[in-house]
């Protein structure tokens, strides 16, 4: 496969959130603001790239019956690395994302790419796939977060656009996540069909 299409497929064509519908838990949970979405996206990207890399390296050494537990241990190790590092060097981001970081372990996106791609492809393709999918995921989460922050609190990346009192609280709450996600999926589907 051409590495460029492999890289770009994660953004629109096979966007993990809008098209593959993977990793819905953090998608709906953390995207109450753009910065939270971006932070979560980048943390997931790191885990995705590293786990894709390691798994594609050792894939032939792992008996297929225990591949899932092995993948999960590898993913969990990288998640903990991210968690500890963030706690040490980015305490303020950790404060707002703290609860969701350990949940990257059970993000279907990471395990899904490990199982569907990294365990069948070579090192370079897996690496490119991880970066592309991760950035696509970050892009989707940031977009979702920005839309919810804009409609709900009148801000984007904490920059005030209009007074908060006019915001629709619904968008910051869980139903807002579903509504915005639905519209964005419809939009992306329209773009993909066109």
């Amino acid at each position: 496969m051409n590495q460029w299409t492999n890289f770009t497929k994660g953004f629109i064509k096979e966007n993990p959130v809008f098209v593959l519908l993977l990793g819905m838990c953090p998608t709906l949970g953390v995207t109450s603001s753009a910065i939270n979405g971006l932070g979560m996206g980048l943390a997931t990207t790191f885990v995705l790239v590293m786990s894709n890399l390691v798994i594609s390296l050792i894939k032939s050494q792992i008996p297929s019956k225990v591949r899932i537990p092995s993948f999960i241990v590898i993913i969990a190790a990288f998640v903990t690395v991210v968690e500890l590092t963030m706690q040490a060097y980015l305490p303020s981001l950790f404060k707002s994302l703290g609860l969701f970081i350990p949940l990257i372990v059970v993000n279907c996106l990471v395990l899904g790419r490990a199982e569907a791609f990294a365990s069948k492809n070579n090192l370079l393709s897996s690496l490119v796939d991880g970066v592309g999918m991760g950035l696509g995921f970050s892009f989707a989460l940031t977009l979702l977060g920005a839309a919810r922050e804009f409609f709900g609190a009148g801000k984007i990346f904490d920059i005030v656009v209009y007074p908060e009192d006019y915001g629709m609280l619904l968008f910051v709450l869980a139903p807002g996540a579903f509504i915005v996600l639905g519209y964005l999926i419809a939009l992306i589907n329209r773009m993909n069909k066109a």
Binding site: S33, Q61, P63, S70, V73, A77, Q87, P91, L169, L173
Partner: protein, 212 residues
């Protein structure tokens, strides 16, 4: 390279190796970041103390007291000015009644007994709702929700729904209740400790007076 066969031995060996390597890596990372995590926590705590108290010169020795109505102790950080006079006390307080459990706050009590400030240290409240407490209760343009400068003795620090005089955060009454509970717990525990200190000081001086 051919795929390894799923024999019992292969599976056990693979899982053991994977787990061992992962554990080793985590051990290293933990050692590497341990000092920095402690440092980040300490810096955050000092910053919180500075922001909740009026300007001060030095911090005295901290102490811990068990509150009358809680299982964990509160930590007190007294602050003094250049003449060693008490400026205020920062109290690390908590409540377990938040919408999603534990909330840890740093509350400042100035020497005259008013709330001089607060800072939210840790919480798991709903983002965009309960999480607004970090600014909500110190908004100077809205006196009905501002608790800064109020004295818990003269002001009824409860949400209006419960008959108090503080406006709760919109759609987050539970968080607001828990927040105020933590603030009051800090104040009450501090007052009790201060009264006790005064009483013992008085008793001491009385004793001395009797002897002379």
């Amino acid at each position: 390279m051919a795929q390894k066969e799923s024999s019992f031995l292969n599976m056990v060996v693979t899982l053991t190796i994977v787990a061992l390597v992962a554990a080793t890596v985590l051990g290293f990372v933990h050692d590497l970041t341990k000092a920095d995590i402690e440092l980040a926590k300490k810096v955050a705590q000092e910053k919180a103390i500075k922001s909740v108290l009026p300007p001060f010169d030095s911090l005295g020795e901290s102490w811990k007291t068990l509150p009358a109505d809680g299982a964990d102790s509160l930590e007190f950080f007294p602050a003094f000015d250049a003449e060693q006079k008490l400026v205020g006390v920062a109290v690390k307080t908590y409540t377990k009644n938040g919408f999603s459990g534990l909330i840890t706050l740093m509350a400042g009590i100035s020497a005259d007994g008013n709330i001089s400030g607060y800072e939210v240290l840790e919480h798991k409240e709903t983002p965009g709702l309960g999480s607004k407490m970090d600014v909500w209760f110190k908004d100077e343009s809205k006196p009905s929700q501002n608790i800064i400068g109020k004295n818990p003795v003269t002001s009824n620090l409860e949400v209006t729904k419960d008959g108090g005089e503080v406006d709760a955060i919109t759609a987050s009454t539970i968080t607001s209740r828990a927040f105020l509970e933590a603030i009051k717990r800090a104040y009450n525990t501090y007052k009790e400790a201060a009264d006790q200190q005064e009483a013992t000081a008085k008793a001491d001086s009385n004793k001395k007076g009797g002897q002379s």
